[in-house]
Structure formats: structure tokens, C-alpha cells
């Protein structure tokens, strides 16, 4: 398979090519790469592609590892949840 059309983030349909060209153009961190391409921002919360996105940013030499780069962290909710179940307030 052509790696240019290979999809890295399935939820947001972001290709390898799009990630590499964005990382090259903006010389950005993994966080900025994610925000610019939406890779890892879809339904699964980046569970599938997070490491790949970080690797791509690193291989471009743009992801200077500092403590501020931990922002690809997972935020609650841990799993997708419906409004109904989340919004139940016990009185």
C-alpha cells in the first residue's frame, strides 16, 4: 500500500502524508501536529494513533521532548459515554 494514502488516524481520516507534510511545513510539536491535522481528536480519543503521531513529530526532529509535551495525555471520560448516562444527576 502506498504510504501516502495510508490512514494513520481512522476516526478523523488523517493520512500519513498529511501528517508528514504538516510536520515538515510547521516544524511543530506532536501537540500542534495533532491540533492542526485533528489526528487523535476523534471518537477513540487517539488510542489507536497517538504513538504514531508522536513518532512522526519526533522523526521530523520537531518534537523537542520537554515536560510540556505531555499534552497528548488522555482526559476523562476514559471511554465515550452517552449524554443520558453522563448527565444523570443524583438528587
Amino acid at each position: 500500500m502506498n504510504e501516502n494514502v495510508m490512514i494513520i488516524c481512522r476516526c478523523e481520516e488523517v493520512t500519513y502524508h498529511e501528517l508528514v507534510s504538516t510536520a515538515t511545513k510547521y516544524k511543530c510539536s506532536a501537540r500542534e501536529l495533532k491540533l492542526r491535522t485533528r489526528a487523535g481528536m476523534g471518537y477513540c480519543g487517539g488510542r489507536t494513533c497517538r504513538t504514531m503521531v508522536e513518532k512522526i513529530a519526533q522523526s521530523m526532529g520537531t518534537n523537542t521532548p520537554t515536560e510540556t509535551n505531555i499534552s497528548l495525555k488522555v482526559q476523562p471520560p476514559i471511554r465515550p459515554v452517552s449524554f443520558e448516562n453522563l448527565g444523570r444527576i443524583s438528587k
Partner: protein, 396 residues
């Protein structure tokens, strides 16, 4: 004598406010250098909504300033190279009881009298707006000039524009000390070395008071935490920004008829469809220091409020949540000001929940103040002095 680390204008803070100052400043020919301690847009400007609103501004100075900013954003959308998901569809407020409907009518009258593009909406209008709305909603109002952007793309886009005009952007550069030397230059100590500058702009949002302290200036800004949940795209719930009328009351600290928990966390519905067609549902208002942890109970209240207004989204999915810190001031206006005691020192911070809306006008005003030209709007209401006025009077 000019050495390599001397700069004309230094902007501290790489959020949306620093971005707009860097853009308008460098565009006007100023030599601008930005110091950001983390990454660009890593503070509040990526942990918020992207609504560019006049609908919630007090008629008069506030709404006129918001309107000016909206016009600038409209220009920026063609002026800047990188698109930032600009959509100018207007926005609406919905009312859930008679008391709110009455207040809404007054609000629309006042805004219309001030020359803004407002109108009332009835039940029929709401039904046409979204079939997901609760049937019992009485009506609402609409502001035609409101728009939406992606706040961090807007920040990036402004910085790219600034770079094209020659601005120098230093990320991972934290200002740790700031003072004036005998030559009346600012000395700026950072973790990447020491710089000197003729002028310094403090655009540090909720962190602005710490920069102020370095110069013995009291900057009355406090972090007001806000949380948002992200719903995944399933069906288009609406195309424009929707807020409950209670948002206005919550923002300005009035009394609402809601559950105690909703009141405690200051939860009021804001529904913002994003260009990716997810939607953002907010938000809360809490004074809780500088922590930005997502709080489960607050998340529940926001979801609860969403289902109250959109019962038919109950089975849709929440995929993510985040929290940011609004730079709050006591009168809900930003501080866009020179500091009389320290010539060459400017503050552009304290935009609370309006920093995205007011970034453009803020950048323009600081540029005008530095270039000593006429300002686009009067700047007295934005001065730092307004907080110390009572003190000054006692010296009269």
C-alpha cells in the same frame, strides 16, 4: 549601542492576545519579539470555545468594542494565509421561562437602540433552527454579526502572519525576571538568556499578575475555571452557536432559577458546532485557583444541562472533556493599558470569556498605543487605573 539581545518591543505570552499584538504590531512596522514559556496557544487559548460574540456584551462601550473586533476578524479571514475555520452565521440565545423571555426582550431593545443587529425569535423560529430543541422552550434572540472560529488555528494563523512581517517568536522561553536598568531599558531574564527591550507588553492571560509582580505592579486578574465537553459528530444538531439566556446571568453574577449544583458550578449551556462537525458543549464558571483538572461532577452538570435544552441528543456520545482558565477581572472588561508608573510597560490581559472575541481589537489597540496614533475605540474604560481609582481619589 546595540547588542544582539536588544529588542524594540517584547511581547510576553504566546496566546491569542500575544498573537494579535504580534500581528498588528509587526504589520504596522514595529519590531516585535514574542516570548512564550511553553508552546504557542498552549494556555487558555486552546482550552476554550471559539465564539466571536456581541450577543452577550453590555450595550454601549462593550458591544461597540466587540463589533469593531468582529469587523477585524472578518477582514483577517481573507487577510491571513492559513484558514481558521471562520463561520459568520450569527448566534442565538434561548429562553426557558417567562422571566428570561422578558429580560431578553429588554436586551434586544437596548441592543437595537445601540445600533446592533439583534432580533427576537419565537417558538417557530427555534423549531426551524434545530429539530433537537426541547419543545417547551419559549423563544429566544439572535445576533446577526456573531461568528465562530477555531481558537488555536486562529492563534497559529496570526503568528504566521506576524512572522511574515518580521516578528521573532521564541517558544519554550519563560520570563523569570523583569526590571528597568539605569539606561531606562527593560531587562528581561529568561531561561534562554537575558534580553533588553525598549517596550514590554504583558499578554500572559491568567499569569499576567506574576509578570506584574516582577515590576511591583498589582494586576487584579484571577483565574476563573471553565470546563467543556466534546460530542462526536453523529447528526447535525445545529449550524451556529447557541447559548441559554441564563449564560448572561451566570456571566454577570445574577440569580437564576436552576438546580443548586448547576448554580454552584455556574453551568450554563453553550453549544458550538465545530467545522469538523463535532460539537462543543459548555460550560462552567468556578474560582478554583490555577488547577485545570476535568471534574466529573461538573461534566455531569454540563451534560444534564445539554439534555434539558436538547432532549433528543440523549443517546449521542461524549468523547472528550477539557478545562481552561478565563482571566477574570471584577468589571468583566479586559485591561488594555499603559502603566503610568512604568513608561514603556503595557498590559493586554484579563479578557475572561471574551479573549477570542476581543483579540483582534486588543492587538490593534496596543499597536495604536505604541505608535501613539488615534485609538480605534476609547481606551479609558480599559485602563489599569480604573481599579485604583478609589485609592487615587483619596489623594485628591
Amino acid at each position: 549601542m546595540k547588542h544582539i539581545n536588544h529588542r524594540d518591543v517584547v511581547v510576553i505570552g504566546g496566546g491569542i492576545i500575544g498573537a494579535a499584538i504580534a500581528y498588528y504590531g509587526s504589520k504596522s512596522g514595529l519590531e516585535i519579539t514574542v516570548f512564550e514559556k511553553n508552546e504557542l496557544g498552549s494556555g487558555t487559548s486552546s482550552k476554550c470555545d471559539g465564539d466571536i460574540l456581541a450577543v452577550d456584551k453590555d450595550p454601549g462601550f462593550n458591544s461597540q468594542m466587540a463589533l469593531k473586533s468582529q469587523k477585524l476578524v472578518h477582514e483577517l479571514h481573507t487577510e491571513l494565509d492559513t484558514p481558521f475555520e471562520y463561520r459568520n452565521y450569527g448566534s442565538i440565545l434561548v429562553c426557558e421561562n417567562d422571566m428570561e423571555l422578558e429580560a431578553a426582550q429588554k436586551w434586544v431593545k437596548q441592543q437595537q437602540n445601540a445600533g446592533l443587529d439583534f432580533r427576537m425569535l419565537d417558538r417557530e423560529d427555534l423549531r426551524n433552527e434545530s429539530k433537537y430543541f426541547a419543545d417547551d422552550l419559549l423563544g429566544g434572540l439572535e445576533c446577526q454579526t456573531d461568528s465562530m472560529v477555531n481558537p488555536y488555528l486562529f492563534t497559529y494563523s496570526l503568528f504566521e502572519g506576524a512572522k511574515r512581517y518580521g516578528a521573532h517568536i521564541h517558544t519554550h522561553t519563560e520570563v523569570v525576571n523583569l526590571y528597568k536598568n539605569q539606561a531606562k531599558q527593560f531587562v528581561i531574564e529568561t531561561n534562554q538568556g537575558t534580553f533588553t527591550a525598549n517596550k514590554v507588553v504583558n499578554a500572559c492571560g491568567v499569569w499576567a499578575p506574576f509578570i506584574g509582580k516582577m515590576l511591583d505592579i498589582d494586576i487584579p486578574i484571577k483565574p476563573r475555571k471553565g470546563q467543556i465537553i466534546v460530542a462526536s459528530r453523529q447528526k447535525p444538531v445545529g449550524v451556529r452557536n447557541v447559548m441559554e439566556f441564563g449564560y448572561l446571568i451566570s456571566k454577570f453574577g445574577g440569580e437564576r432559577k436552576v438546580d443548586p449544583l448547576i448554580e454552584k458550578y455556574g453551568v450554563a449551556l453553550v453549544m458550538e458546532p465545530t467545522e469538523s462537525q463535532n460539537f462543543l458543549i459548555g460550560s462552567s464558571r468556578q474560582f478554583n485557583g490555577y488547577e485545570t483538572k476535568v471534574d466529573n461532577e461538573v461534566m455531569k452538570c454540563i451534560a444534564h444541562r445539554a439534555v434539558r435544552f436538547y432532549p433528543k441528543i440523549a443517546d449521542m456520545t461524549v468523547i472528550r472533556a477539557y478545562a481552561g482558565l478565563r482571566p477574570w477581572t471584577a468589571d468583566h472588561l479586559p485591561i488594555i493599558s499603559q502603566v503610568e508608573a512604568i513608561p514603556g510597560f503595557y498590559i493586554a490581559a484579563g479578557h475572561e470569556g471574551d479573549g477570542i472575541s476581543l483579540a483582534a481589537i486588543t492587538g490593534k489597540l496596543i499597536e495604536e498605543m505604541i505608535n501613539e496614533t488615534n485609538t480605534s475605540v476609547p481606551i479609558e474604560p480599559l485602563s489599569l487605573n480604573r481599579f485604583h481609582a478609589s485609592l487615587e481619589h483619596s489623594f485628591d
